[in-house]
């Protein structure tokens, strides 16, 4: 294969790979992102047509044969004010611009209305607090005994409008779930919000979209859109306090986690570990990833992460703790019980 063709194939492959899967701005799996995709299509068509008309006209002007009458305009000093047909062209051109701009304005207006309608009367209140470099997620229903706190994962029932309140603890972040909604900047000292009305069950990936420090790229959010029944089951499980350890190894891990460095930052509901600085670990083992989407949740990754977070995510706020091997076994055994 020629190198040129190979490069073209690679570029095309990369471009296409951006158009599918769990992180896709053209997915349209929520009312908000669907509206944006339609608006994007209208803008794309209008702007592409106008672009080709403009460039085509320019090319025609450059390459057309000069007419005999114009040949000696410079020499004779006679200027033909209007070439035949130029008035028609002017009218057509002006009409095109007017129609194109009107189409954009109308499309924009209806998108706005549709977004406003989807955001009306939200049924689910969620507060998402951005931190360097993870997401703190809190479901805040009217009944305070039903508050759920989790981290780096968002569960949404399909067809239920959710109002997401966005806060930041440190620097400016941006909340973006390409398949569903966003982007919305998250600014320290200020409250912003985003609305999501999911239409399609599935797994999606959110990502911080504003550079926020060294680990910005590893600041992801696992989003699960599920049926109302599944969501209720998940919420009921999340409301439970952590399970007490049963094996001696897990009990040793419980001791370490609740009395040493871990509990200074992490909260495990139902245990003495009540730190508020790091992700809530109450139901850690029920999640899909750890460290804000950095690693899939597996036993090996848990070992690697607890033993040396700074080699997995350099600069992250979780320090490398030089844990003794027997303690590490115990900690991982305990963390795996936190379903």
């Amino acid at each position: 294969m020629k190198p040129g063709r190979f490069t073209a194939l690679v570029v095309a492959g990369m471009a296409v790979s951006g158009c599918g899967g769990i992180q896709n701005a053209l997915g349209g799996q929520a009312v908000q992102s669907r509206d944006f995709v339609s608006l994007f299509a209208v803008f794309m068509v209008v702007c592409t047509v106008m672009y080709f008309v403009t460039v085509g006209t320019l090319m025609w002007a450059v390459f057309r044969r000069r007419r005999a009458t114009e040949a000696c305009t410079v020499e004779t000093g006679r200027h033909e004010v209007s070439a035949p047909g130029s008035r028609t062209a002017l009218v057509v051109w002006t009409t095109l611009i007017a129609v194109g701009l009107s189409a954009l304005a109308v499309a924009s207006f209806f998108t706005d209305r549709s977004l406003a309608a989807a955001a009306r009367s939200p049924k689910l209140a969620i507060t998402v607090t951005a931190n360097q470099w993870w997401w703190d997620v809190q479901y805040t229903p009217d009944n305070p005994s039903h508050i759920i706190r989790t981290a780096n994962e968002l569960h949404l029932p399909v067809g239920v409008p959710a109002e997401i309140t966005l806060k930041s603890n440190d620097v400016i972040h941006s909340f973006w779930i390409p398949n569903l909604a966003g982007k919305q900047d998250v600014i320290p000292g200020r409250v912003t919000d985003a609305q999501i009305l999911p239409r399609q069950i599935g797994q999606y990936r959110g990502q911080c979209a504003e550079f926020c420090g060294t680990e910005h790229a590893n600041m992801a959010l696992d989003v699960t859109v599920e049926s109302m029944a599944d969501f209720k089951k998940w919420a009921a499980a999340q409301l439970q306090p952590a399970i007490a350890p049963t094996t001696p190894l897990a009990a040793a891990g419980f001791n370490y986690v609740t009395t040493r460095q871990c509990s200074v930052c992490h909260n495990i509901t139902g245990t003495p570990a009540n730190g508020q600085l790091g992700p809530d670990l109450t139901h850690l083992a029920s999640r899909k990833t750890i460290a804000a989407g950095t690693l899939p949740l597996t036993r090996g990754n848990l070992y690697g992460w607890v033993a040396d977070p700074q080699s997995q995510k350099p600069g992250s706020q979780m320090p490398t703790m030089q844990i003794a091997p027997q303690d590490l076994h115990a900690i991982v055994a305990y963390l795996e019980t936190l379903k």
Binding site: R260, L277, Q310, S311, G315, P319, Q322
Partner: protein, 186 residues
């Protein structure tokens, strides 16, 4: 012989430019606290009064690595709020606990002495943080506490505090002299 520069002025400018470029080497961030091997001074506070010799021993490589390190100081600033040091010491001005931005140090104002105070705790309310924070974090906190009394070079401290403050920024602070340990009682 032909020189590449027309006059001595351009040569001097080129040399100055090279010297400036040499200054572009930023300190590197040591996020793991390794390979130094993390240790915090244990037992009694490392004292500055020695019989027969008034010179205290030099700082260890550990202490020296954290002492004027900008990354350690800014991480320490974050920990100072997160670990609620402000609860007693306020943002350096003191309250229930002693102020940290003056010249008085009950247990010594050297970085290893401050680290020891944080790790071991002190009478009348200062808790021991040894098993709650990593050694690296204790060193970072100590590095920041030193900066509160202006003992750190201006290019290492944050030009802006993380919190609201009615005092001038740390970059404009005049350093407080470090009095020897024990002089606070006098």
């Amino acid at each position: 012989m032909s020189l590449p520069f027309r006059n001595s002025g351009s040569a001097a400018a080129a040399v100055a430019l090279l010297a400036l470029l040499g200054a572009c080497d930023r300190e590197s961030r040591n996020t793991r606290g390794q390979p130094l091997g993390e240790t915090v001074p244990t037992g009694a506070s490392p004292d500055t009064i020695y019989p027969g010799n008034s010179q205290p021993p030099p700082l260890t490589a550990q202490a020296a690595a954290y002492e004027n390190n900008a990354y350690a100081i800014s991480q320490g600033q974050q920990l100072f709020t997160q670990m609620n040091c402000v609860g007693c010491h306020s943002h350096g001005g003191g309250g229930m606990g002693p102020p940290l931005m003056d010249a008085k140090w009950r247990y010594g104002g050297r970085i290893d002495q401050i680290a020891a105070s944080i790790a071991e705790g002190r009478p009348n309310g200062m808790p021991a943080w040894r098993s709650k924070l990593t050694s690296e974090q204790i060193w970072q906190l100590a590095a920041y506490v030193r900066s509160l009394s202006g003992q750190v070079p201006k290019d290492a401290v944050s030009a802006r505090a993380d919190t609201l403050s009615n005092t001038p920024p740390q970059t404009q602070q005049t350093p407080e002299p470090v009095l020897p340990a024990g002089s606070a009682q006098q």
